[in-house]
């Protein structure tokens, strides 16, 4: 199998810190072995450095909000940790001491500072534990409104939800521009996840060298484009086994044209809305397989009228082709449906996902897709601006979607808030995907609701309705935040999904799922003919008397990367399950008799057809 995987190694590693190819191969085999070594992999046996009390104090001091922001809402004094709470806020003990800075203290009221930042959750060192990458943000010059980037941070999981910062050791570049999002993909198919960080200015491709370090390959990859990039997603568009890259552009704002907006000359200043600016083009970079990318957005017909803030790569219409769904701010959302070859057809309007129920564009931000109602078809989910319901788009088959927000009991829920980070994940282990939505305004004073807003968790009642369980979600949910990106994954290896949330000028929060662990399987899909991370694949596990379908996707949520592994809850009594996979190549395979309660690496072309 590894010799097959080696076929994908077309990137030169001459610039990496370990230049010995043989050593890298050994590392690769070792890493894959570790990943495949099932249950023991989730708790590292390496020596750990637990977070100290001083780190917690440092964390607390980091939490001081900038003077421009309204004071953080006080937590509900009656809100104490309950026995039924879904999440524990373990930020203080996690060792992750990070605050995304947006530079609003410059008082320039730039639209740049409204976007916020994301979180990357992936196993960068292939030790079987999910690590956390925090996008850095930046500062804004108080005189010129020019942004400067702050260093992103990488935290290595050392087990038990504790992390060590390894930013310097891993050579995460210090000189990135003002950064927003991150997405993880294996652009060289070497088995080590690489990362693309989106920025205002020059976004950054960080190649994972496999030795715990990254190298900036942006220029040599042909990605050194000056633009305002926000969200990104990897996916193999042309079926050559290489991960291509979709990057959304936002607006043509520059510091030179920055000015605050006022409702009237005597009123206070605030950020100008995106309607004051023009959209900038999205980019669709084709991976040429030799370390370089080529932008084919124009030739493939990517529309130029969107203000992208979210993008999702997955097969959303079950035709075996990779699709891209783009959430645009104040402009119509775009759905690019893939077909054979490298062509895409934009079908947002005709599929019913471009607008709200009344045919008007909304301010869309976060994005995700999963089968919510259990019919095997993937619904789409989008978070929107205030006074716009978040949109649940029910898949009716044949590429048609229908607004079902009201039908699923989500109408009005969170309507007054500005929705950003979101995701469809089974947090309570009943096999139905639940939902989280984190909110925060973009306006400091002019919004209907304050800058800091509550976050929500909705439980899926067997595919019929969502109910608001925020009151039981945990103490972090009892306080308002200016939240933006968030990522989901099983940080502590207990089979229950945890949550990491990035908020503007607030400490990044580590929320450990404390619901009792159910029975589960965790699946890491590895492509051989498909891309190494087979975005677009579909996984089906029969459990609880139904087919539980999950997507391998990239770019979901908001500016963030959740764990690409799939965790599916199964009945407590089950000891083994059968897993069906539809690979992006179109191949159907069954992997029978997988033991529950542990991890599995599912390798393409090693199951039964």
């Amino acid at each position: 199998m590894y010799s097959d995987m080696e076929q994908h190694h077309r990137f030169t590693d001459s610039k990496c810190h370990m230049s010995d190819r043989r050593f890298r191969l050994v590392m690769l085999i070792g890493a894959a072995f570790i990943a495949a070594s099932l249950s023991s992999c989730r708790e590292s046996t390496q020596s750990t450095v637990p977070a100290t009390g001083s780190e917690s104090l440092e964390h607390a001091s980091d939490a001081v909000a900038t003077t421009l922001l309204p004071a953080t809402a006080q937590p509900d004094s009656t809100r104490v940790r309950g026995e039924e709470d879904w999440f524990d806020d373990v930020t203080g003990s996690s060792g992750i001491v990070f605050t995304y800075r947006n530079g609003n203290d410059a008082g320039q009221f730039t639209i740049l500072e409204t976007v916020g930042g994301g979180i990357g959750m992936f196993d960068f060192d292939s030790d079987g534990l999910l690590d956390v990458f925090c996008v850095g943000g930046g500062t804004i010059n108080p005189d010129t409104a020019s942004p400067s980037g702050l260093t992103c941070r990488l935290y290595r999981n050392v087990g038990h939800c504790r992390f060590n910062e390894v930013t310097d050791h891993s050579h995460v570049p210090e000189g990135t521009d003002y950064s927003h999002g991150c997405v993880v993909g294996d652009v060289d198919n070497d088995g080590f996840p690489d990362m693309f960080v989106t920025c205002f200015g020059r976004s950054c491709l960080m190649l994972n060298c496999g030795d715990g370090t990254f190298i900036d390959q942006t220029s040599s990859a042909g990605l050194a484009v000056q633009s305002w990039s926000t969200a990104a997603a990897f996916g193999d568009l042309d079926g050559d086994g290489q991960a291509d890259l979709y990057v959304t552009g936002y607006t043509d704002w520059t510091p030179q044209i920055n000015k605050p907006c006022r409702q009237s000359p005597d009123q206070f200043a605030d950020v100008c809305p995106p309607q004051h600016y023009s959209p900038v083009s999205d980019h669709l970079y084709l991976n040429l397989g030799d370390g370089r990318f080529r932008d084919i957005a124009e030739e493939i017909g990517v529309r130029r009228d969107g203000m992208g803030l979210g993008v999702l790569a997955a097969d959303v219409n079950q035709d075996g082709q990779l699709d891209f769904f783009v959430a645009n701010d104040v402009t119509a959302n775009h759905l690019y449906l893939g077909s054979d070859g490298r062509s895409l057809t934009e079908a947002g309007e005709v599929s019913g996902v471009a607008y709200n129920e009344s045919g008007s564009p909304e301010g869309s931000m976060g994005i995700d897709a999963e089968d919510i109602d259990g019919d095997g078809l993937s619904e789409l989910w989008v978070t929107n601006f205030e006074m716009e319901d978040n949109s649940l788009l029910q898949n009716r088959g044949n590429g048609l979607f229908q607004h079902a927000t009201a039908a699923f009991g989500l109408a009005g829920q969170s309507r007054v808030n500005v929705g950003f980070g979101t995701g469809l994940h089974d947090f309570d282990g009943d096999s139905w995907v639940d939902m989280y939505v984190v909110n925060g305004h973009v306006l400091y004073k002019r919004g209907i609701r304050p800058f800091r807003q509550p976050a929500f968790v909705f439980r899926n009642l067997k595919g019929r309705k969502f109910v608001d369980v925020t009151k039981s979600a945990g103490t972090w949910f009892g306080v308002t935040h200016a939240a933006r990106g968030a990522a989901v994954g099983d940080l502590d290896g207990d089979g229950m999904l945890d949550l990491v949330v990035s908020s503007i000028n607030e400490p990044t929060a580590i929320l450990r799922n404390r619901l009792p662990a159910t029975n589960w399987v965790r699946l890491q899909l590895v492509g051989r003919y498909s891309a190494r991370i087979p975005v677009g694949a579909r996984v089906t596990v029969k459990a609880f008397d139904r087919n539980c379908v999950r997507l391998v996707k990239s770019g979901s949520g908001y500016l963030s990367q959740s764990d690409s592994c799939i965790v599916i809850a199964v009945e407590a009594a089950r000891t083994v399950v059968d897993v069906e996979v539809v690979w992006p190549t179109g191949t159907h395979e069954t992997f029978a008799g997988l033991v529950t309660g542990t991890d599995h690496v599912i390798i393409e072309d090693s199951g039964t057809e």
Partner: protein, 407 residues
């Protein structure tokens, strides 16, 4: 000195007589000044008051004659008869001569000196005749420390709402609340101002304050109706349900209330009940297009495409510029396999959406003078394209009224 004078008198009595005879004109002058002039003045002002009384009686039947009388009276008074001038302005208004009325009022050197009650009367007359600029001028002439200030504020707020100039409404409403903190109408003014400025949460709270003070069932019903609408808009299910329940105990439900109930049920996720209620509404009023569209939306959501198509087609026929009906019809046509027809309606939705976006941009912008007039005309044209002719007419009227200010 006195002895000397006496001696002089005794020496030349003829001279004294002459002097005495010369004093007569002086006495006459003094007499005229002290007695006759006030009498004349009294007579004249009495005459002005008399003319005013006569003119008042003529206002309804012969306003032109009343205006002529008052013009003469003002001229006779040397232009210094504020009450007569106010009445003259009213007469001109009643005679259908609004420009002259505005001119007449603007000739007043100090309208603030006039009786506030009469200024209020003029404002009411100007408002009734559609001369809103004159109404505003006359209200603004009433001093801020007048005991009539609350009445002035109520009228100014109503005027601002009528002209769409909601900017100053909030400040006026808050002043009103300061003057009459326990008055339901003061809270109502604040609530409406907050609603207009899209401060919906504050508006809901202020409407709640109105309810605490308002006992009149009709006014309560009005407020409860507004609350249901706003709470549904904000997605506040429980609060909206509570307001709706109170509304049902306060008054008989109107058609709009029943449609709001359907929207509330949908918000609550009770789509089957919503379906049942909308059927009831349509049975009462089959031509209500909002109900028809809601019926179609519910049908579309449950996959009843034929019913949805019939409903949306009916709405589009009745309201060809209803963009969301076009969009919904396009979607249902797509499902039924009529792609070409669907595209036409998608296209119409896009066209109408572009106009709406343009309106939003125009509304967000501000201008002064002739630029403001152009902006209002552009807005009016955009609204006319959307088929909202009443709004378009109102905006054109507002633009027209701005002309005299610039000139």
């Amino acid at each position: 000195m006195t002895a000397s004078r006496n001696s002089r008198r005794s020496r030349s009595p003829g001279k004294a007589e002459r002097r005495a005879s010369r004093r007569w004109p002086r006495f006459a002058a003094v007499f005229a000044v002290l007695i006759i002039a006030p009498t004349v003045w009294w007579a004249m002002s009495n005459d002005t008051a008399r003319v005013c009384r006569q003119a008042s009686e003529l206002l309804a039947t012969d306003p032109n004659r009343a205006a002529a009388m008052l013009e003469q009276a003002v001229a006779d008074a040397g232009g210094d008869a504020p009450d007569a001038q106010l009445l003259w302005t009213r007469a001109l208004l009643a005679a259908g001569r609004p420009a002259e009325a505005l001119g007449c009022f603007s000739l007043m050197s100090n309208p603030s000196a006039a009786d506030p009650k009469k200024l209020l009367q003029l404002a009411d007359a100007a408002t009734s005749s559609g001369n809103l600029l004159l109404a505003r001028f006359s209200l603004e002439a009433i001093p801020a420390n007048s005991s009539d200030r609350p009445a002035v504020l109520h009228r100014l707020i109503a005027l601002s709402q009528q002209t769409g100039n909601v900017g100053p409404v909030m400040a006026m409403a808050r002043e009103l609340l300061t003057l009459q903190p326990d008055n339901a109408e003061s809270w109502l003014a604040v609530a409406q101002a907050e609603e207009q400025q899209m401060e919906l949460h504050d508006a809901v709270r202020s409407y709640g304050e109105v309810l605490k003070r308002q006992r009149d069932p009709e006014r309560r019903a009005f407020v409860l109706r507004t609350l249901v609408r706003l709470q549904v808009l904000l997605g506040e299910r429980e609060a909206a349900r509570s307001s709706f329940e109170e509304l049902t105990t306060t008054t008989a439900l109107e058609l709009a209330d029943r449609i709001n109930e359907v929207l509330l049920l949908r918000l609550e996720g009770e789509t089957e009940q919503a379906q049942q209620k909308i059927e009831e509404v349509l049975a009462l009023s089959p031509d209500n297009m909002l109900a028809r569209e809601t019926h179609g939306t519910l049908a579309f959501n449950r996959g009843d495409n034929d019913t949805a198509r019939r409903d949306f087609e009916a709405v589009v026929r009745d309201q060809p510029r209803n963009k969301q009906a076009h969009y919904k019809l396009a979607q249902v046509l797509l499902r039924l396999g009529h792609q070409d027809e669907a595209q036409k309606h998608f296209q119409e939705n896009r066209r109408l959406t572009d106009i709406s976006t343009h309106i939003l941009k125009l509304q967000a912008s501000t201008a002064v003078g002739t630029a403001e007039i152009s902006r209002l005309h552009e807005l009016a044209a955009a609204y006319a394209q959307l088929g909202q002719l009443e709004t378009a007419t109102r905006l054109r009227e507002s633009a027209r009224r701005l002309v005299p200010v610039d000139q």
